[in-house]
């Protein structure tokens, strides 16, 4: 394992590929990009030392094509593969394929991923390691009596989940035993019809919860560290939108206590490299482990800003067998960082995907501002891949400074041609409950944020009324003098708001 990495193939695209390329440039490592037909003009192709075409636009033909990527890695002489996030990053088969081909997979071992990738298996391991998990069944249940027993122990309300569901589907809320019994019958019938077995599990239903996660790093010598928490409670349909560190509800004592639990979780699965232990926190302050994300996360720069560490460079160091160069007590939380995920979705139209050319964009900059993006003027946002176009981060000495910097940076961020979630974040940055740190996973609904956003946009539009009239007058004058064209242009926001 003590092989010095001199070249890395990045099996990903977009801003995370660029992030890894920059880390390679800083460490003198040859960076090898791969790209699909759709990405010939993508920024990761331009910035990498080398770039190899791997297939058609569809992910299955390119960024998910393990065989082709492995072939390319060998042909290019790559020492290691960085999977980024998404795509193959949590695929234990790919990690195993790398192991077999003697190429370093920058992430945990396939053995570890087999556990972390299976929620129930992982939960069992964590219980054994005395990591607190959400009360409920340890494994799938086919028998309603057992379900009732477990529900009784965990306390109502409980959730009945199908092992075959995912992303919120197949979840049933049960307020009492009577409802549990009814729902169990229906759910197991459905599940049996579709998959041949019931395979349900029971879990305590937690209300007004916060999503708080701990950044982990563990080397092959068994040294485990946590790099403090990130609060990621602002979500829409289980997708994180805003992340920050520190969490407004985590004090130093809690940080140390839960951080230690997170490291214990990493030890329990013999985790290598960077990862994240995700927890739910209820209003009473209880933390429940839910899962380990066995990869670098989208929101990793939040942690970089408050710790000063470079997680990608640490990933590389650990992957080539080095020990983590700091002790737990060496880490200090410095200031506050916030991240907004700038997605190519229309927040005024149910977050419909918005794709196409971006003729112009202006990235914000200045004190305390960091951007991670693949956008550049003249680029194209593709419908084949996910909607994250940019991560906007701000750092401040405290939450308030980070917040006002974010508010201003959002104003400076211009992306033409597509709709993005920027207007939503502008509303949130000014919203009193956000400012107070009153967060929960149902934040958007609880505080009617979309109504506020619509109101804000209306007010902003109204404040521009005089300028609009002036512009209309100027336009008439210019047209009259033959100086301006009668009409224009590609895709406006109006068109994309027509009812579908």
């Amino acid at each position: 394992m003590a092989k010095k990495i001199s070249s890395i193939l990045i099996a990903n695209r977009g801003e995370i590929a660029l992030r890894v390329i920059r880390a390679c440039k800083e460490t003198g490592i040859r960076s090898i990009a791969v790209y699909s037909d759709e990405d010939v003009r993508a920024v990761h192709v331009k910035r990498a030392d080398e770039a190899y075409h791997i297939g058609a636009a569809a992910p299955s033909q390119s960024y998910l094509n393990m065989t082709k990527i492995m072939e390319t890695a060998k042909a290019a002489g790559a020492d290691a593969i960085h999977p980024g996030y998404g795509f193959l990053s949590e695929n234990e088969n790919f990690s195993e394929l790398c192991e077999k081909n003697n190429i370093i997979f920058i992430g945990p071992s396939s053995k570890t991923m087999q556990i972390t990738g299976d929620k129930m298996k992982c939960k069992a391991v964590m219980k054994k390691a005395k990591v607190p998990t959400v009360p409920g069944s340890d494994s799938v249940i086919d028998d309603v009596e057992k379900a009732a027993d477990i529900a009784h122990e965990a306390g109502y309300p409980v959730m009945l989940k199908s092992a075959f569901g995912g992303g919120g589907r197949g979840i049933r809320l049960c307020k009492d035993e009577k409802q549990l019994r009814q729902e169990f019958e229906m759910a197991s019938a459905e599940s049996r019809a579709a998959f041949g077995k019931a395979a349900l599990f029971v879990e305590k239903y937690l209300q007004r919860i916060r999503h708080i996660e701990f950044q982990l790093l563990r080397d092959t010598h068994g040294n485990g560290r946590h790099l403090f928490e990130r609060e990621c409670s602002i979500q829409r349909r289980h997708q994180k939108l805003i992340e920050m560190s520190p969490s407004p509800v985590v004090d130093q004592k809690t940080r140390e206590r839960i951080g230690e639990i997170a490291v214990r979780a990493a030890d329990a699965v013999d985790y290598h490299n960077a990862g994240t232990a995700e927890f739910l926190r209820d209003p009473e302050g209880n933390f429940y482990f839910i899962e380990i994300n066995s990869r670098l996360q989208v929101e990793h720069p939040v942690t970089e800003l408050v710790t000063g560490q470079d997680l990608v460079k640490l990933q590389i160091a650990v992957a080539q067998g080095e020990e983590i160069p700091f002790k737990q007590e060496d880490l200090k939380m410095n200031g506050c960082a916030i991240e907004c995920r700038i997605n190519a979705e229309d927040p005024f139209y149910d977050f419909a995907p918005s794709v196409g050319p971006v003729p112009y964009c202006n990235l914000p900059y200045g004190p305390g501002v960091r951007v991670e993006t693949y956008l550049y003027p003249g680029c194209t946002v593709s419908g084949y891949y996910d909607s994250l176009t940019a991560k906007l981060l701000t750092w401040g000495r405290n939450f308030e400074e980070a917040r006002v910097r974010m508010r201003n940076a959002l104003d400076e961020f211009v992306i033409e041609g597509i709709n993005t979630t920027i207007p939503l974040y502008k509303t949130i940055m000014d919203e009193p409950n956000f400012i107070k740190g009153e967060l929960s996973t149902d934040y958007l609904d609880r505080f009617k944020i979309f109504d506020k956003m619509n109101e804000d946009v209306k007010n902003q539009a109204n404040s521009k009324a005089k300028a609009a009239v002036a512009a209309a007058l100027l336009h008439s004058e210019l047209v009259r003098k033959g100086a301006a064209p009668q009409s224009a242009v590609q895709k406006s926001r109006w068109k994309s708001r027509v009812t579908m």
Binding site: G383, D386, A471, A484
Partner: protein
């Protein structure tokens, strides 16, 4: 001329008075005078200072009755108001909500993952006709009006571009 801006209830009266020295234009908006200093004129955009504040305007669409603008990144429609426009608007409003075009088109590029409505069946405005996938998201395409599905123009698994015809509702 009177202008109706966005969904502001109030109308704004506007007119160009004269060009002053300094490359500036004197305009009247409402009952106040304002100085507009034109900084740049491009093919479909211009920059100006109105009362000492900078503005950027992009003309997205322009007709005799209305101009669609992007003011400082903010979409705004300015309608040139006259009695005639009012009459026309009322007339079109009488056509009923969702009336008009029979074509249901795609607002996004994507892949057709599921077609839920069959030709010949009746749909209400808002009913799901099919599901597209784009950016790893599933997006329901809803009927834009009440009516009967006359034709489904795409097949499951097909790729569609923005503005492609998906179905005809009569």
């Amino acid at each position: 001329m009177e202008f109706k801006v966005g969904d502001l209830a109030q109308m704004l009266d506007g007119e160009v008075l004269r060009t002053t020295e300094n490359n500036s234009i004197l305009v009247k908006i409402g009952d106040k005078m304002h100085t507009v200093r034109l900084l740049k004129t491009g093919t479909n955009e211009f920059e100006f200072i109105l009362d000492n504040s900078f503005h950027h305007a992009k003309v997205m669409q322009s007709g005799s009755a209305e101009v669609k603008l992007m003011i400082d990144g903010q979409p705004l429609t300015v309608k040139k108001h006259s009695k005639l426009t009012e009459v026309l608007e009322k007339a079109s409003a009488l056509g009923g909500a969702g009336g008009g075009d029979r074509n249901l088109t795609s607002q996004i590029p994507g892949r057709v993952v599921n077609i839920t409505a069959q030709p010949g069946t009746a749909v209400k405005k808002g009913d799901v006709v099919m599901v597209l996938e784009s950016m790893k998201m599933q997006v329901a395409v809803k009927a834009h009006k009440d009516g009967n599905i006359k034709d489904i123009k795409v097949k499951q698994g097909a790729s569609v571009a923005r503005n492609d015809l998906l179905a005809v509702i009569e």
